[in-house]
């Protein structure tokens, strides 16, 4: 298949580019790229745009297949992709969600200022490392029975709150209030459940982390104040997902769909785009299992936030005050949402793989104080750079099915990062910059070195300039805990 070149791409408006439907015969809709010209030139170098074109061939896709400026090559769908399918006849594709179902980010806001607590950061990083199980193969302290696990899969973050991990009030500050009602644990295999029994409250490895940051800068003081953010304030980020349970749900259902796809007359250009109609038996079984795995992920992040609060209290005591949940967002998920397409409001199945929901003001699910300013959108960068808090806008509904970027986006493979980054030197260099890194291995540090990622500032500038999200605050890391 021919590779997408810049000559194939048309500029629709500032920061929005299109590969027309005519590029390939099997495309059902155009493919759109949200990027600056500089980022587009970098994006063209890998195969992510060919993957985006492949997504445009899926049955039932509406308007356009899209990628955010942090896009990079994945398998099947590109990472940073958004695709909305007609409900209920359009397809659902596990590849459009990813193996780590409901990988997402939670942001906790403290009442402390960095200037008064710089000396405590190293001790806090060690305490967090001791309290939050991280790394591959590390089980958590909670060992569930299969009956309890089914409760988690059905109830999501509610299960954590019901068992003393956090407050009921915090649920209002989670996307979908930490629970998808369509979850059905019956469609989660025994193998998947076995993988999840001891993984609640664990972050895993790879790019997952717990991070201590401070607010380096606020861009929009009104929204920052609404979110409870102010310059110098210490905040904490938690990035993880549904762990092995979610990975197994994806594996199981991709395999089932692969067997079933021919019954529905569907052919896909990449096996990782395997899909079936949403309203088919296999489509419904996957959706209900995916919702269950998403619930597991929300419960997981809720329990990790409880572990983080314990570590916080051990260092700062009662004087450290409360860690308030500012918001929790998913960036690997499929949801049934209403969007206006060609002037008509309709239900669609929105796939977000490495993309964050970014709903604007007035969205009824938001807590009352956020309703006037839009949903918080949390964009983690890489260790050593910075992260951002944005606010969703109504323009995101018009342009990107209410979606935004999810991070900086990788620019180097893990092997290339390991070749270029000297982990012990990097750890020491970060320490000199006031960033303490606690990791299970030097290998993990090298693979996730800042050099492996695009400039998160350039990515955020694009989503801000295009109008799909507003910049609210910039966060600077002071401690990173990784698996």
């Amino acid at each position: 298949m021919k590779k997408v070149q810049k000559a194939h791409i048309t500029k629709l408006e500032d920061y929005l580019w299109e590969i027309p439907k005519s590029f390939r015969e099997d495309m059902r809709v155009p493919a759109q790229i949200l990027a600056s010209e500089g980022l587009l030139d970098a994006i063209i170098k890998d195969r992510s745009l060919n993957q985006l074109v492949n997504v445009a061939t899926l049955p039932g896709i509406k308007k356009a297949s899209m990628v955010m400026p942090d896009v990079h090559e994945g398998y099947g769908f590109p990472i940073g992709g958004v695709a909305a399918m007609d409900y209920p006849e359009g397809v659902i594709s596990p590849g459009g969600i990813g193996y780590d179902i409901n990988c997402g980010v939670q942001l906790l806001a403290s009442q402390l200022q960095i200037k008064d607590n710089r000396d405590a950061v190293e001790a806090l990083s060690k305490e967090l490392h001791a309290h939050v199980p991280a790394g591959m193969g590390k089980g958590g302290t909670i060992k569930l029975t299969t009956e309890q696990l089914d409760e988690v899969l059905a109830e999501g973050a509610n299960w954590a709150v019901n068992h003393g991990y956090g407050t009921r009030e915090s649920l209002s500050y989670m996307e979908s209030h930490g629970k998808l009602n369509d979850a059905d644990p019956a469609f989660v295999s025994t193998m998947a459940k076995n993988r999840g029994l001891d993984q609640l409250g664990t972050i895993g490895s790879g790019n997952h982390f717990v991070e201590v940051d401070f607010v380096e800068k606020t861009y929009n003081n009104t929204i920052a104040k609404t979110y409870g953010l102010q310059k110098g304030q210490i905040v904490l980020l938690i990035h993880t997902g549904s762990r092995g349970l979610g990975h197994q749900v994806a594996t199981d259902h991709i395999r089932k769909m692969m067997m079933a796809m021919s019954h529905y007359g569907i052919n896909v250009p990449d096996r990782e785009l395997t899909c079936v109609p949403f309203n088919s038996k296999e489509g419904q079984e996957y959706f209900k299992a995916m919702c269950a795995a998403a619930n597991f992920a929300w419960c997981n992040r809720q329990i990790i936030s409880w572990e983080v609060k314990n570590a916080w209290e051990n260092i700062f005591g009662k004087e450290g005050g409360d860690l308030r949940l500012l918001y929790d967002v998913a960036h690997n998920i499929a949801k049934i949402e209403m969007h206006t397409i060609e002037g008509t409001s309709r239900k669609v199945i929105v796939h977000r793989k490495g993309a964050t929901r970014a709903f604007g003001p007035g969205f009824k699910e938001l807590p009352p104080e956020y309703k006037g300013v839009g949903q918080p959108v949390i964009i983690p960068g890489s260790m050593g750079t910075c992260s951002y808090v944005l606010a969703g806008t109504s323009k995101s509904h018009e342009m990107t099915f209410g979606s935004c970027c999810h991070g900086a986006g990788r620019r180097l493979s893990r092997s290339a990062a390991k070749r270029q980054a000297n982990a012990p030197v990097l750890k020491e260099k970060l320490r000199e910059q006031g960033i303490f890194v606690e990791a299970g291995s030097f290998r993990g540090i090298a693979e996730e070195a800042p050099i492996a990622y695009k400039d998160v500032g350039s990515v955020v500038d694009v989503v801000s300039a295009s109008g799909i999200a507003k910049k609210v605050a910039k966060l600077k890391p002071v401690a990173v805990i990784k698996g």
Partner: protein
């Protein structure tokens, strides 16, 4: 009979074998190597043995499904499987006994064994080969 490939987000390998059994065995060892470097080197005693039976649409799917199930068993049993004995290995079915060693901690977390770019074919040297991309 394997080499690593560059992939921006994940890890890829190109694996080869003169027979299907050899291709499956080499793939298994390479996956264990990603999970824990050097874990199978010089191992002559196994802590754990498990039977695995899988049927798939075609041989490429069979290899990916085989690795996916081994991966899941690795996590559940906290075991790295280094050796496999095949009772049956056809184009669409595998019935095998896995042999592994217990481990508390792996180096890398593989989230999934993907079908992306996997396609078993015979190369000019008469060797079976395929790419395998692991989602990390």
């Amino acid at each position: 009979m394997a080499q690593s490939m560059e992939h921006i987000a994940d890890i890829g390998i190109q694996v080869r074998g003169y027979t299907l059994q050899e291709l499956f065995k080499n793939s298994l060892k390479e996956m264990a190597q990603i999970l824990k470097e050097g874990c199978c080197d010089g191992v002559d005693h196994y802590d754990c043995s498990m039977r695995i039976v899988i049927s798939s649409n075609d041989t490429t799917c069979l290899l990916i499904d085989f690795l996916s199930d081994v991966l899941a068993l690795s996590y559940i049993q906290k075991t790295l499987f280094c050796h496999v004995y095949f009772s049956e290995l056809s184009a669409t079915k595998v019935d095998a006994q896995l042999y592994g060693i217990w481990f508390d901690h792996f180096d890398e977390e593989i989230k999934g064994v993907t079908y992306h770019e996997a396609a078993i074919s015979r190369n000019a040297q008469g060797c079976l080969e395929t790419n395998i991309i692991f989602d990390l």
